[in-house]
Amino acid sequence: MGELEHSLRGRVAVVGVGETTYYKRGQSPDPEFVLVLRAILAACADAGIDPSTIDGFCSYSNDRNTPARLSAALGCDVIRYSNMQWGGGGGGAAAAVQNASAAVLSGSADCVVAYRGLAQGQFGRFGQGARSSTISGAAALTAPYGVMSPAQTYAMRTTRLFHDHGISPDTLKAVSLAAYHHAQNNPRAVMYGRPLTPEAYDASRWITEPFHLYDVCLENDGAAAVIVMSAERARDLTDRPVYVLGAQQGGPRRSGVAGHNQPDYVTSSLKPVIPRLYQQAGVTPADVDVVQSYENFTGAVVMSLIESGFCTYESANEVLTFDNLIAPSGKLPLNTSGGNLAECYMHGLGLVIEAVRQVRGTSTNQVPGAKVSFVNAGPMVEVVSAAIFGSAEVLG
């Protein structure tokens, strides 16, 4: 595949990242809006810019904290760009960076923040079923049968993954153990100081077979932010910009159809996204040094890694082992912050930040010399996304 004619590769860069303290669900001392402000202010401090520099806002998953309110609170003079990525779950985490990059590249805005805030303790929980006495539409095809939560919505894809491709449940376990292993070196992680043993994984309760408790993401309070500017401006701010090599979003045919009728059922939904992402970024899976793969559920991680070219259906059982997935020694270092399973479930923006951190060389589980860093977001939801970041060396 040749290069794209108008790729964003190397023309925009992440100049700042920010996170709040990550809390267990319901433990945030701050309202959700304050969490988002704190994350954006932290990203501005990281970038070395005045917060009033921000002139664009991108979020996803119907974030409750609107650009108008944020812009006012940050003392910004103007909003030049405001964007909401459609779709549920964390499918938009990398897409928000894509949208921010598009705004900068098109000249719509100069300094765009991608952000996400969640305080599930102050609003509804994701893992909780419908509370109404009647139900209509697509949900009526599942809820009366006790299928209501995200885990239940996606478990049967994993059952079928095992059946169709001979994938072992041990791959799910390896993904979970690697995340918890990495979290033990990451003081930001909610599961810092709470290691997970193989025995504890095996003994953990089923949420819904084939998912154990530790196959399912956390529910957290917190916020995260990523600031994107043009490559030229980024070089004025830092001698070590993290370039956006590629960022894509999408979904396969009829990915949002009701009642588990997607024509291609056993997929992370990343299949149509990935070829163009690599084409845009000008790299191949073999060039990627470190991977952050969104864990709503570990089964989706296995699908994502296969569909992103890091292993095949045939090699997955051999490649996706604990030893291979841990930094710095593994061949495929995965979710090096602890990810959604053990750092924080910030709808994937924490994984985007960890991908940036790896290129900067500042991860708590640093992959030595990492130059190309991959992240995906929200596997199995209707519209998913992925991004690749790289250092100046990659651009040559």
Binding site: G127, Q128, G129, A130, S132, S133, T134, I135, S136, G137, A138, A139, A140, L141, T142, A143, P144, Y145, G146, V147, M148, S149, A151, Q152, A155, M156, R157, T159, R160, H163, R205, W206, I207, T208, E209, P210, R254, V257, A258, G259, H260, N261, Y265
Partner: protein, 147 residues
């Protein structure tokens, strides 16, 4: 009613006000299974949509299909996601493929012991579960493994 696979108290399905799924839910009350079927191009379609995703025709209609299929996938919830399920776990959810209706899939519960042996590929038949005493009477479609 102890004959139900899951206890009463889960959300009761009611046809959408826009009428899109009415033929399906009315069919279940008669113990019939109805699925969208395009008279223009022959596409079978599920869940209900306003047009045919095969040929874009707005004339997509409905056909009655045999209430039987093949077990395509499954899960067994142990964590109760709803108060009504607190004493009802585990239960088994099945995804059933209807090969004679273009391979459309339907979600339901496995009828009988949730721990009974079964496998992907098993033939299953529908069990129509009437909830006549509900304020909004409805019928669910559960699935029994054919031995």
């Amino acid at each position: 009613m102890s004959d139900y696979v899951l206890p009463e108290g889960l959300p009761a399905p009611v046809p959408a006000r826009d009428g899109l799924d009415r033929p399906y839910w009315e069919g279940t009350r008669r113990h019939e299974l109805w699925v969208q079927h395009c008279p223009e191009c022959g596409t079978w379609q599920w869940g209900p949509e306003w047009n045919c995703h095969g040929c874009r025709s707005f004339a997509i209609g409905w056909d009655q299909v045999a209430p039987e299929g093949v077990l395509y996938s499954w899960q067994r919830p142990w964590h109760p996601v709803h108060g009504a399920l607190a004493d009802a776990v585990p239960y088994t959810v099945v995804l059933v493929e209807l090969p004679h209706a273009g391979g459309v899939r339907m979600v339901g519960n496995l009828f009988g012991d949730p721990m009974q042996p079964f496998a992907i590929g098993d033939r299953v038949e529908a069990v129509f579960e009437d909830h006549d005493d509900s304020p909004t009477p409805f019928t669910l479609v559960q699935w029994r493994v054919l031995r």
